[in-house]
């Protein structure tokens, strides 16, 4: 049809065209909002991805907190960041059954109690939920003034209730904050689970740290006490040494004059002579005690530099020679063989063995032939020496006591001695990182003195 001939039809076509054009434009503009919706969906996915990145960061930072308060602060801040809510609260279920608030963000401090008035039984769901969906529970938390919130209980690895985390918004916040998206429940539960594991680890580590700290404190205390004892021992020894040394000179003078009086018999009555003899005897005894004390004090002044290889077989042979007169007088028998060679202070070893052998002879009753047997047996860390005698023996109550200063088993003092010999022995052995003890079946049954010495002396 020729359009020139049909103007009405032309007009209709133009109107139709305009309508179609407007419809097309409408479709295009409406497409814009559809496009926008697609972007919103993509953004939601971006946000979800970002949220899991935040949870990952929280896992890292949550591990390195020094205190539970620090941990709770970090936790609330990460929950705020992950769920874009203005308020967050973190509570821990204590052993005494209280749900204690350990961290909060964005709340007025005065409205938050230290302990939440809740029990695990009040929780309406086991996983994350929306506060707004549970009016009864919302009423229990009314003091928080939250319009809505994400709430998630936390559990320990053994599934026991461990606490609660709440993140939400008050009425005033709704001006700028979007309503809580119910879809966030799942991510909130995931983050709460992460938080509970971190908190559990923190608490466990905290207990361990406390225990280690307490042990260390005790160790330091013991160390300090040991140091104090060592210092006071050293001071005492120094004091004993100085006193003994200074007493020795005047005593020597007294002894000298007493000796002169003993030799000069003229004009002295028999009674006076007896007195002079008694003075002389007592001075000698006193001198012997001072000598022993000096020996005792000198033991600790020997240092590691004095250590050398000591052939015990040779050493005992030498002592046997030195004591030959005594041994002969008492008809004593000294037996020893295959004694080892080990590192020790020669002079002190001589003193130690001499003391033990002399004691064995001394504490064998007159009329009994002393029999002394020496042997050494290798052990895991060194040698165990034994000096066995057939002397008066020891009651079990005396077996430890006799190593103390001025302690004697012979209370009636039938046998000569000053109660220092075994103290010196003990000190020598301990100086060599060894131990000394005595075993005896009982009085009259003889004794065996044992002492140990390590193969080598550790360098100080």
């Amino acid at each position: 049809m020729d359009p020139v001939d049909s103007p009405d039809q032309d007009k209709l076509s133009y109107e139709e065209l305009s309508r179609l054009c407007a419809e097309l434009q409408d479709r295009v503009t409406r497409g814009i909002s559809t496009q926008q919706q697609l972007i919103s969906i993509k953004n939601e996915l971006d946000e979800e991805l970002n949220r899991f990145k935040i949870i990952q960061d929280f896992s890292k930072e949550g591990l390195f907190q020094d205190s539970i308060e620090g941990f709770a602060m970090v936790a609330t801040e990460y929950f705020i960041q992950a769920f874009q809510q203005p308020h967050c609260l973190f509570a821990e279920y204590r052993d005494d059954g209280a749900l204690q608030v350990i961290g909060q963000f964005g709340f007025n401090h005065s409205v938050i109690p230290c302990v939440l008035p809740l029990t695990s039984g009040d929780l309406p769901e086991r996983e994350g939920f929306l506060l707004g969906e549970h009016p009864a529970f919302k009423t229990k938390l009314a003091f928080l003034q939250l319009e809505d919130a994400l709430v998630a209980p936390m559990y320990r690895p053994d599934n026991s209730f461990y606490g609660l985390v709440v993140a939400g918004q008050q009425k005033a916040d709704q001006r700028f904050y979007d309503p809580i998206n119910p879809k966030d429940r799942h991510a909130f539960t995931v983050m709460a689970t992460k938080a509970s594991y971190l908190m559990y680890n923190f608490r466990t580590n905290e207990l361990l740290k406390q225990e280690i700290k307490e042990r260390r404190r005790m160790e330091l205390m013991l160390e300090a006490k040991a140091n104090d004892l060592l210092r006071s021992n050293a001071e005492l020894e120094q004091f004993a040494y100085v006193v003994s040394h200074d007493l020795k000179a005047p005593l020597r003078n007294v002894q000298g004059f007493a000796d002169l009086l003993r030799r000069d018999q003229s004009g002295i009555s028999p009674a006076s002579r007896e007195y002079i003899n008694m003075i002389w005897e007592e001075v000698k005894r006193f001198s012997d005690i001072i000598d022993a004390l000096l020996r005792y004090a000198r033991v600790s002044t020997s240092s590691i530099q004095d250590m050398k290889e000591v052939d015990f077989q040779q050493l005992v042979y030498k002592i046997e020679g030195q004591l030959s007169l005594t041994l002969q007088q008492r008809k004593a028998q000294l037996q020893y063989h295959n004694l080892p060679t080990i590192q020790a202070n020669y002079r002190q070893m001589q003193q130690l063995l001499q003391n033990l052998i002399i004691n064995a002879i001394k504490f064998t009753p007159e009329g009994r032939m002393p029999f002394i047997h020496l042997e050494a047996e290798p052990t895991q860390n060194g040698y165990r020496f034994a000096v066995k005698d057939n002397g008066i023996g020891l009651r079990s109550a005396d077996q430890k006591r006799i190593f103390g200063l001025f302690q004697r088993a012979d209370r009636e003092q039938q046998f000569e001695g000053n109660g220092l010999g075994l103290s010196i022995c003990k000190k020598i052995v301990e100086q060599h990182k060894g131990k000394i003890w005595v075993e005896s079946v009982g009085p009259g049954e003889g004794s065996t003195f044992f002492f140990t010495l390590p193969y080598r002396q550790a360098e100080e």
């Binding site: 409408d26 953004n43 203005p86 700028f176």
Partner: protein, 402 residues
């Protein structure tokens, strides 16, 4: 000579956020700088506690003057952050004499935009400082931005470069806040006059949208209030065209309800577009809405759609032109305003990061150049020697050391 230091972060604790930013930014300056007099320009998102920001800054920089505004997101040299608690700051530290002056006003609206802006400009003028550029950060809810520009120009003349933007909330278009003089203002404005003779400014502006279909005609208006389009209540008419309910709040519509207006001939080439865009952030109950500039009866408005190709290519061309103008001169710092809709509302994370990278890289060239940007409701950017207000753009303000 003014020195610039910037930082941004997503720390949720407001006090910690500003203090960490200041520590990070001023970490590059001598340690005594913390005690110096300085200006701190802050952009932060709406979830932050503004009082805490002020207190936090005072604690570690007691002599600092803090100004700032809310936005939908911050852009720093660290990248963009549009969370509810993001913060960016630029510390402006004078080497000697104070070469900045600040003034502010509370409650700037469409009807008083000229007067309030003029009053603030007069206060700056009264300082007798030789101000050579003005940073203007105003509420973006219902300001008449063109009238505000006129107010400033009535004091300093049309040659005074004005840069900055309008503050926003998180795109809800409910309110915006400003920080000035230790106080928090609502729907206020801040004006900073810089008087460092060693500094000049180069700007770049660009949007990547194209009009679609036929334009609508404004059939009734009063100033920046558009009452009727094609004889119908303006907002319901526009919503019907977008297939959205008539009572839709303007906030969520920002990404889709932009309006284009034809640019005068001489501006089209430097703008790389024939149209300038307008955002609508306030609607009255009678269905009228507010444009950020006067909208006389007979104005033709287009609905627009973004063109991803144009967004990227146009941005590259803008940066090429900007870097060509800067030449070999030193860039001391960059301020940056971007439309809130150009953030996550319009782009996914990957595209958004790519856009930011494409605008930062040509200027920073891999160096930590001080950079403070925000996603707001509008941008004040000079174009062809004229101060203009824009929407939906990326606007870059490079401070150049002469």
């Amino acid at each position: 000579m003014l020195n610039f230091y910037s930082a941004s972060n997503g720390q949720v604790n407001s006090k910690k956020a500003i203090q960490q930013c200041l520590t990070a930014a001023l970490g590059e300056a001598p340690p005594s700088t913390f005690q110096d007099k300085m200006l701190i320009v802050v952009h932060c998102t709406i979830g932050h506690d503004f009082e805490e920001i002020i207190a936090g800054a005072r604690e570690i920089c007691p002599q600092a003057e803090l100004v700032g505004c809310t936005c939908a997101g911050v852009i720093g040299k660290e990248g963009a952050n549009e969370s509810m608690r993001a913060l960016g700051m630029m510390a402006v530290v004078p080497g000697g004499a104070q070469q900045y002056h600040v003034t502010s006003c509370d409650n700037i609206r469409g009807h008083n935009s000229y007067e309030e802006a003029r009053k603030m400009a007069l206060e700056l003028k009264a300082t007798q400082a030789d101000i050579n550029m003005i940073q203007f950060l105003a509420s973006g809810i219902d300001i008449a931005a063109d009238r505000a520009i006129e107010g400033i120009e009535s004091v300093f003349g049309a040659d005074m470069p004005i840069f900055g933007g309008t503050s926003s909330d998180n795109m809800r278009a409910i309110s915006s806040y400003q920080l000035a003089d230790g106080k928090v203002l609502e729907r206020g404005a801040i004006m900073i006059g810089y008087s460092d003779p060693t500094l000049t400014i180069e700007m770049g502006v660009h949007h990547g949208s194209v009009p679609i279909g036929q334009p609508f005609s404004v059939t009734r208006s009063e100033g920046n209030r558009v009452i009727k389009i094609e004889g119908e209540a303006a907002w319901p008419y526009l919503m019907s065209k977008l297939d959205l309910p008539a009572d839709t709040h303007p906030g969520p519509c920002i990404p889709v309800a932009g309006m284009a207006e034809l640019l005068p001939d001489g501006f089209r080439e430097p703008y790389d577009n024939d149209h300038i865009l307008r955002v609508i952030v306030k609607v009255d109950e009678d269905g009228s809405f507010y444009m950020p500039v006067d909208c006389p009866q007979g104005t033709r408005l287009w609905i627009v759609e973004r063109d991803e190709e144009l967004i990227f290519a146009g941005l590259d061309r803008m940066m090429e032109r900007l870097t060509a103008r800067i030449g070999g001169r030193e860039v001391a710092a960059v301020f940056h305003t971007d439309c809130a809709a150009r953030g996550r509302a319009m782009f996914d994370a990957i595209v958004k990061d790519e856009i930011i990278e494409n605008m930062q890289q040509p200027l920073t060239k891999g160096t930590p150049l001080p950079w403070l940007g925000m996603y707001g409701f509008g941008e004040f950017t000079r174009l062809k020697g004229k101060n203009l207000f824009h929407n939906y753009t990326t606007s870059i303000y490079a401070l150049i050391r002469q």
